[in-house]
């Protein structure tokens, strides 16, 4: 019989013990009667010999190992009864704990899956990424992968992959799935077995092999409803039929934390999709991530030097075509470096700091909640002093009382944690959903693992001890004598009031820190959202036009784009339309190294400019003014001299702010054919790649004047931007889609309002601002509640005092002042300490801020004002109550 059975079969066991002892007693009685006693005498004698039945049962229970269970059950029952006696106070305590523990667990589970959780593959700690040591570059051309693959002696296997999107639709509006190009070694080396069918291998990863694909568990469920006959079916990806040969296990999301895939396709099938423009033969494209599995016992450094041994061979065999001399030298010199694969994701780099900031914020909120509950328990303990001292007087040990009071805390914390876990699993999923955009799905494995569980339990126990220990020790420190005295009066509670006041000051100080942080982060978001973009996003619809399957010949695509622009411009409701290779904040950045005639001498690293290739009407569509010179026209073509328009930042950097008109620009890198272009216009500055960065020097060139080597010939798609006459540009989707379909039914279209694209670029800032704002407000609320509680308590303790003063002629206003002055002392202390703390802590958020100083004095003044308002609010009700005290009633009570 183990303890668990004992707990479950408790009643049966107790009945048996009772029966056993009674049986003994009965035998004793009958033995005595056999010896000649009367029944009464026999019973008396037996009882004397045997002792008290109940005590003995108790002793047996203890001996049988059930005693502690009884004690705990009793304590828990009693605690629940006590807590239910004050439902509102209990509900507020549980709710604030649930929010606190829930928020902490949610953020921790994000950090866990982003930084701590191992990849869902075999032996993930032995995996390493191949990178360029100095530049941090981690993408490689297919040629480099081919070289690594041919050197199996270096590692215990290596894999390469690249993220992509495949279009399931055969024309018209796109229907994208997340795809992965992966080497044939991908599944074997990572040690991932197929859940259904088989995974592909090196034999499938050849040019000209039968096109096959392995799909993810979630795609299998979504698309095929988990049907077993999905294996062998055909799936059209970018119009190419692939045969499904396998399904991966549910927990496998790829080898990159933060992303996931729907379909995996061998790299060797890439030419089937990209056709003549295959990247396999283009050494200038770095697009593959290469990961190696270290040999048993091999250290990272040893593996790196092994790879460096093959460095010059690999580099020389993979020189990118058409690179200028200097760039070639740099390519040859750059040393391969291996980095541990764990915790090296892009998502981590992007979100690590914001997440840690939020983690600190929620930890502080939890601390504030703890202080609140500690105060509630303290005041409650004072109210229960009589009861507790009575129990001491009746022989309870002090430890027993402490245990009882700590059980109450544990019940509170446990209930809070149970709700908190619900909040956490809901909140963390909600948060991850917020991070995804139309073009970039963020995926994190948020299932609860032992780390999250240990964290939640640790936080729960920690909070229970934090808010429970001091009140329990204090409360059990009553003298038994107090039970005999009349209770409730005297000044014995003043030390507790001081302690509680200290806690409230700490709460106020912490909430100042949080409100300041929230203010800074919200103002950062507002500065970014209201930043002058240099273009007007509101009425613009972006249409990504993918011509990959419409025409094989890149030269044919530009006329195709121009035709789509013509038909869309003619549609009713369309004010203007223009084609460009990229759009602001799209994530696609084009850039050149250039030389400007008669320009300022600059070091090579600074002779770079951002670039966009645009059709006429682009500046009108985006609402970016041309300051001097002219816009591109339909006359700028292959047979007229090349022209360019630059922005003000360009003129500042390359020409010291002088007018750029008449200067010429020669593109040095990437190597482009074609003569230098004459600058014919100066455009206003407009945001290009990021809202946080200053506007970069930008050069615009006409779509019609593109030459071999231009990105126009390598990108399979372009963006058609459509400005509506009025109202939401979304209403244009149907007519635009029909019109473009009429031009060529093979064009794949993706629609996105420009305003959404701008908003999507602010997701991290928005998430952090919303979270810190919410928790800042919560902190204020909790601190306000704490302040109210301690003030109300102080007033109730000083009823007599106040009543006597009023009897002696004090005005009601004086009483209100008396109470409020106490509140203002607490608030004043809290704000002072909090201001100092925020001053110190501001250094940690400085890097997250934009358009606001980390130590903005106005911000502190504002927050002090808010705290004063909260203080007035929290103090007003107790003050009003104090002023309503009837001196006659108080004096009669005395």
């Amino acid at each position: 019989v183990n303890w668990w059975q004992r707990l479950v079969r408790k009643h049966q066991l107790e009945r048996q013990a009772d029966e056993e002892l009674r049986g003994h007693l009965e035998r004793l009685v009958s033995d005595h009667m056999a010896a000649g006693m009367s029944e009464g005498e026999a019973r008396r004698e037996a009882r004397l010999e045997f002792g008290g039945l109940e005590q003995m049962k108790e002793a047996c229970r203890d001996a049988g190992g059930l005693g502690w269970i009884d004690d705990v059950t009793q304590d828990v029952r009693y605690s629940v009864r006590t807590l239910r006696a004050t439902p509102i106070v209990t509900a507020v305590a549980v709710l604030s704990l649930a929010l606190g523990i829930g928020a902490n667990t949610a953020i921790f589970s994000l950090i866990n899956s982003l930084e701590l959780r191992a990849l869902p593959v075999k032996d993930p700690t032995r995996l390493a990424l191949i990178t360029d040591g100095a530049t941090g570059n981690r993408f490689w051309s297919y040629a480099v992968w081919d070289q690594v693959r041919q050197r199996p002696q270096l590692f215990n296997g290596a894999v390469a992959w690249s993220f992509t999107r495949f279009n399931l639709a055969s024309g018209g509006e796109t229907q994208f799935v997340d795809g992965l190009w992966a080497s044939g070694s991908f599944f074997d080396t990572l040690g991932v077995l197929a859940l259904l069918g088989r995974n592909f291998s090196d034999a499938d990863d050849r040019r000209g092999a039968r096109p096959v694909t392995v799909i993810s568990y979630s795609f299998w469920q979504r698309r095929f409803g988990g049907a077993g006959d999905a294996i062998g079916r055909t799936l059209a990806l970018d119009n190419v039929p692939f045969t499904i040969i396998g399904v991966t296990p549910q927990d496998f999301f790829g080898a990159d934390v933060g992303r996931t895939f729907d379909v995996v396709v061998p790299i060797g099938d890439e030419p089937l999709v990209r056709g003549r423009e295959t990247w396999l033969d283009r050494r200038i494209f770095s697009w593959l991530t290469i990961m190696a599995r270290l040999k048993p016992g091999q250290m990272l450094d040893a593996a790196t030097s092994g790879l460096r041994g093959a460095q010059s061979q690999i580099r020389e065999a993979t020189l990118p075509e058409n690179l200028p001399q200097q760039a070639l030298h740099r390519y040859l010199r750059e040393g391969f470096t291996l980095l541990p694969a764990a915790g090296n994701s892009r998502l981590r780099r992007q979100y690590e700091r914001p997440l840690l900031t939020v983690m600190v914020v929620v930890a502080l909120v939890l601390l504030i909640a703890c202080a609140n509950i500690a105060n509630v328990l303290l005041t409650r303990a004072i109210a229960r002093r009589h009861e507790l001292s009575m129990r001491l007087a009746l022989g309870a040990s002090r430890w027993r009382l402490v245990r009882q009071l700590l059980t109450e805390s544990a019940v509170l914390a446990g209930t809070g944690a149970a709700f908190g876990l619900l909040i956490a699993s809901w909140g963390s999923r909600l948060l991850v959903r917020q991070l995804s955009t139309q073009t970039n799905t963020v995926f994190l494995d948020l299932s609860i693992d032992w780390r999250v569980l240990a964290f939640a339990i640790g936080v729960t126990v920690g909070t229970a001890l934090l808010f429970g220990t001091i009140p329990a020790l204090r409360a059990s420190g009553v003298a038994p004598m107090n039970a005999l005295k009349a209770h409730g009066r005297g000044t014995a509670g003043d030390a507790r009031v001081a302690l509680a006041s200290g806690l409230v000051v700490a709460q106020l100080a912490l909430s100042v820190v949080l409100v300041v942080a929230a203010g800074l982060l919200v103002r950062t978001l507002v500065s970014l959202e209201t930043r002058d973009l240099g273009f007007q996003p509101d009425r613009v619809l972006l249409v990504d036009v993918d011509a990959q399957h419409a025409t094989e010949d890149p030269v044919q695509r530009i006329p195709l784009y121009e035709r789509t622009r013509e038909v869309v411009r003619a549609l009713p409701g369309v004010a203007e339309a223009a084609v460009s290779l990229t759009t602001p904040l799209s994530g696609l950045a084009l850039g050149n190294r250039i030389e400007v005639s008669a320009g300022t001498p600059l070091p090579e690293a600074q002779r770079v400019t951002s670039e966009n290739v645009v059709s006429p009407g682009w500046f009108r569509t985006f609402g970016t003014p041309i300051i001097t010179g002219r816009d591109f026209t339909e006359h700028d073509g292959r047979d007229t001299p090349p022209v360019a328009i630059v922005n003000q930042a360009f003129a500042r950097r390359f020409l010291n702010g002088a007018s750029p008109l008449g200067h010429t620009v020669k593109i040095v890198l990437p190597p482009t054919l074609g003569p230098p272009a004459e600058i014919v216009g100066l455009a206003a500055d407009a945001v290009y790649g990021s809202l946080r960065d200053p506007v970069p020097p930008t050069m615009y060139r006409p779509l019609a004047q593109q030459y071999e080597g231009s990105p126009a010939f390598t990108l399979p798609n372009a963006s058609l931007s459509v400005r509506s006459n009025s109202g939401s540009p979304l209403r244009l989707i149907r007519s635009v889609s029909t019109a473009i379909n009429a031009v060529h039914s093979g064009l794949a279209l993706t629609f996105l309002p420009l305003a959404d694209q701008v908003n999507a670029s602010l997701i991290p800032e928005r998430v952090v601002a919303i979270l810190s704002g919410f928790f800042g407000a919560l902190a204020l609320l909790l601190a306000g509640l704490g302040l109210y509680g301690i003030t109300a308590y102080a007033v109730s303790r000083r009823r007599t005092d106040i009543g006597i003063r009023m009897a002696l002629g004090a005005e009601r206003a004086t009483v209100v002042r008396l109470v409020l002055s106490r509140v203002s002392v607490l608030v004043g202390l809290g704000v002072t300490v909090g201001a100092g703390l925020s001053w110190w802590a501001s250094q940690f958020v400085a890097s997250l801020l934009y358009g606001v100083e980390a130590r903005d004095p106005l911000m502190l003044v504002g927050v002090a004002g808010i705290l004063a308002a909260v203080g007035a609010f929290a103090g007003w009700l107790p003050a009003w109550r104090a002023s309503r005290i009837d001196p006659a009633v108080v004096l009669r009570c005395e």
């Binding site: 048996q16 009965e26 010999e49 003995m56 047996c60 001996a63 049988g64």
Partner: protein, 115 residues
């Protein structure tokens, strides 16, 4: 019954109980009787401490118990020794023998010294 009785030395009750139970399944009342019989009514077993001791040893796995009809026809809880209990008894008996031998020696030497 009027002979002077000694209290049981600390910790020896367990040993006596194990020794009694070693002879075969037996219920609590009979254990108490047997201990008093064997020790010829010299030792007073506090009946109050017998059952907690039985339950403790059952909990520790030294004793196992089953309910069955006793000689009077009533259901009673019969205790028997587990292998673990038997080993424990052996060990404790050896300890006890060593200890009592040591005490006997000390007492004898003390008497000798007094002479």
């Amino acid at each position: 019954m009027n002979a002077p009785k000694s209290d049981l030395p600390q910790g020896t009750l367990d040993l006596l109980v194990l020794q009694v139970v070693a002879h075969g399944p037996i219920h609590g009342y009979a254990i108490a009787q047997r201990i008093q019989q064997i020790s010829r009514d010299v030792l007073q077993v506090q009946q109050g401490s017998l059952y907690p001791a039985l339950h403790r040893m059952e909990n520790r796995g030294l004793l196992a118990a089953t309910w069955k009809a006793s000689e009077t026809g009533r259901e009673a809880k019969f205790y028997r020794l587990t292998p673990k209990g038997r080993a424990h008894l052996k060990e404790e008996t050896a300890n006890w023998a060593r200890l009592s031998e040591a005490i006997r020696l000390i007492l004898r030497t003390a008497e000798g010294g007094a002479l």
